[in-house]
Symmetry: C2
Subunit: 462 residues, 2 copies
């Protein structure tokens, strides 16, 4: 993070969800350290201090990728298989092979790809904690720490959502199945042992382990954590004000097994365990009952949609508009990284609704932009990020508006045009925590993102 | 089109659907005039004749965009509206304003955008025939001819699918509603008058009006052509071996009105009128009965899916796998040009099926590639295009495999990787009819595609 005042001049900018759509022109943006100090629209380009960086096009707050499994990137381009469950077998085979070195190299390259796509903060849903067979590393948080180092090396802030993973599913009546195979690398034995390990990260009382990293909690899913153990995870989180994430109702089979095991839907089980609330984020939320939607909305739980992954894995289309209407904030994640492009994720949150509802206009461009920025940062424990306002983290992403995709598409509102037809390929400049990370489409900290991606994936698959 | 032998050396190439997946390495490709003369895999890079153009990455046959309405591009980025029918009002407002000059400028820029996306042949579904109020231009085919000129100026081959459009819908009992407003610009009065006008294009007995352009027929839809008039359109087409396209069952309302008017589904009405068959292509085919699928498959009718437009317009997801199983060839179109990217269209033909079926693996990469190439060219009347084989049109599109999207995604089959994660932004080189059109991502015939797009759209909307 570089010190001292830095200045940018944005030709057009979307500053925040509030101020009348939030679009402004000729915005002089000043940062001190990692925070915005002043934001002044309608500053003529000729009136800016020397050393000000010009940002032609449309500038937004940095994007937050609220749900990532970095190592899933190694599966991009692999043949489909016929279901979520056959896909999971392939994903497990990759997890089986990862060691700290190969995991660091892969995560660094994947986070660099995220930076090129305008992402300045990632929520890494992390469950690969231990060595083969479940053997603890000398530092039991070695894997989590290398994710933090990987994010730092690629210029991103990170929330490690450290997942409690105790069971390999539940039989009818709620009898837990023991962890097996690679799942042994995920498990800590009990929520108490999980909490003890996570405490050893040595985070400060606010959950920060460095200026760019914080630790949060995750309940992997109702498949992996007995309801009776969930309150200990929540207690850990309450004591620190830390975010808690969980996979929720991604597949019908998960719902069926949960009903057979516990006599309730996954949402109800999590609600009864006290796992829903304003600091909680449920990922996917694809197959819900009306009552589930009431529980999530009534507790102001955030929902993270991963529309491209949910299409890739044939999950289905979740009730995003109904959840928003019920009171849930919506965030976005690239999850399995079939693609890393939050503009596309936002577009398909809208378009997938159109396919099933036969209606248009479920989300405005401002609502999509908010999901990709302020709501995403908030659900990762960074409430003071995702808006271009004084005091917020100085994160910026600038997209050009003159590609063939966007030329002639911005007669109206450039934000609408971006989410209609733009892609990550339109990202030109990225600033994270006050530091330039991407300039003219080139990553400033990772020289050869493509080369590192290819090498890291080869190392994992070969 | 330049004469004399020309040569390219493709690092990797997908040659054709047949030959065992069709992937080959180090392919020396030779063209004479606008046709491939020789295709020789496994030719070491060191052994190629001087003047051979290197094509690093993956080379495919040129892509065919089987369904285009060029002027709809002006609506990209406009606010959504709440239904297909409100969108249609906005589209009509654009059609209202077009004149030959503004239409040419827009079509030329849109076709240039297509070339940058690897498209070497476009099927323009053309119904804006006449001046305001339906006044005929001095050349009654002036609008069609300017589309042909626009394609030539951007380096594409074109099939003008000249649409017969006679009615503004049908009331129960089959009573036609008269054309109104801008629809007057679409109408010729009768199929006989339509055929007379189209004959005046002066196409040769094979339907060619120039080496790069042919004329085909279209029945706009069962909303616009009385069943009794369809046979004359088909007779015109049979006499010339010309393709015939029609919009089919895009919206439930179209089906309901058709049943009320004619007591049958649109597919049945078209079948009874003799409008289905191997030279016919039905566009969308979203809302079909099992019987409709039998009729389309049994007649070997081609179906053109436009997955992104079908999402954009909230049409729904058509039964593409069932149609393919029934015997229909599948093609792809960008239709309303919300985006112009046939790789994305192909991806979403698969992914949209996953969203509704909850299963994966509906189409292989080879099937998706065939839809975007050989099947698309065939349904536009170019059966000798879309494969890299001697005698076929010399159309090539080369995508780089080293973008962050595709790096580390090609451990397996590069064709699978392309349709999993690639986009039009990965297109580097395009050859159409033996001539270089795009080199290193730059259009060689249209200097400033983005600038022309912006100016042409501004001229139409202002």
């Amino acid at each position: 993070m570089n010190a001292g005042p830095r200045r940018w001049h944005a030709q057009q900018a979307w500053l925040a969800r509030g101020s009348g759509g939030g679009l402004a022109r000729d915005v002089l943006i000043e940062a001190h350290g990692d925070r915005f100090a002043a934001v002044t629209p309608d500053t003529p380009a000729g009136r800016v201090p020397p050393g000000t960086v010009r940002l032609p096009g449309l500038t937004l707050p940095g994007l937050a990728n609220a749900h990532s499994h970095a190592f899933h990137r190694a599966l991009r381009g692999s043949a489909a298989g016929d279901s979520f469950w056959t896909w999971r077998e392939r994903m497990y085979a990759v997890a089986e092979r990862l060691d700290p070195d190969s995991y660091y190299a892969l995560a660094r390259a994947v986070y660099a790809e995220m930076a090129l796509a305008g992402i300045t903060c990632v929520g890494e849903f992390h469950y690969l904690h231990h060595g083969p067979g479940g053997r603890k590393y000398s530092d039991p948080n070695e894997m989590g720490r290398l994710l933090i180092a990987a994010a730092a090396s690629s210029g991103l802030r990170i929330t490690v959502l450290d997942a409690c993973y105790l069971a390999g599913g539940f039989d009818p009546g709620g009898v837990p199945r023991p962890l097996a195979g690679v799942q042994l690398r995920f498990g800590d034995g009990s929520a108490e042992d999980w909490a003890e390990r996570v405490a050893a990260f040595g985070a400060d009382p606010h959950g920060m382990v460095s200026p760019h990293a914080r630790v949060g909690a995750a309940i992997h899913s109702v498949r992996a954590v007995p309801p009776g153990q969930m309150p200990q995870v929540m207690a850990w989180s309450h004591a620190r004000g830390a975010p808690v994430h969980a996979h929720l109702s991604e597949q019908p089979l998960e719902n069926a097994e949960c009903r057979a095991a516990f006599g309730a839907t996954p949402s109800q089980v999590l609600y009864d365990a006290g796992a829903l609330g304003p600091r909680s984020t449920m990922v996917h939320a694809t197959h819900l009952t009306a009552r589930d939607i009431e529980l999530l909305g009534g507790t102001q739980t955030c929902v993270c949609m991963c529309p491209v992954t949910e299409a890739d894995l044939a999950d289905g289309v979740g009730p995003a508009p109904e959840l928003a209407a019920a009171g849930c904030a919506l965030a976005l994640g690239s999850d399995g990284h079939r693609i890393i492009d939050l503009v596309e994720e936002a577009r398909w949150m809208e378009l997938s609704q159109r396919l099933v509802s036969r209606g248009r206009g479920h989300f405005t461009a401002v609502e999509l932009a908010a999901a990709a920025t302020v709501s995403g940062h908030a659900c990762l424990g960074w409430p003071d990020a995702g808006e271009i306002v004084p005091g917020a983290y100085a994160d910026l992403v600038t997209v050009s508006l003159d590609s063939p995709r966007l030329s002639g598409a911005v007669a109206g509102d450039p934000l609408t045009a971006l989410f209609a037809a733009g892609t990550a390929a339109d990202v030109r400049h990225v600033v994270a925590s006050g530091a330039d990370v991407v300039r003219d489409g080139r990553h400033l900290l990772v020289d050869d993102v493509s080369g590192e991606l290819a090498a890291a994936v080869r190392a994992v698959l070969s």
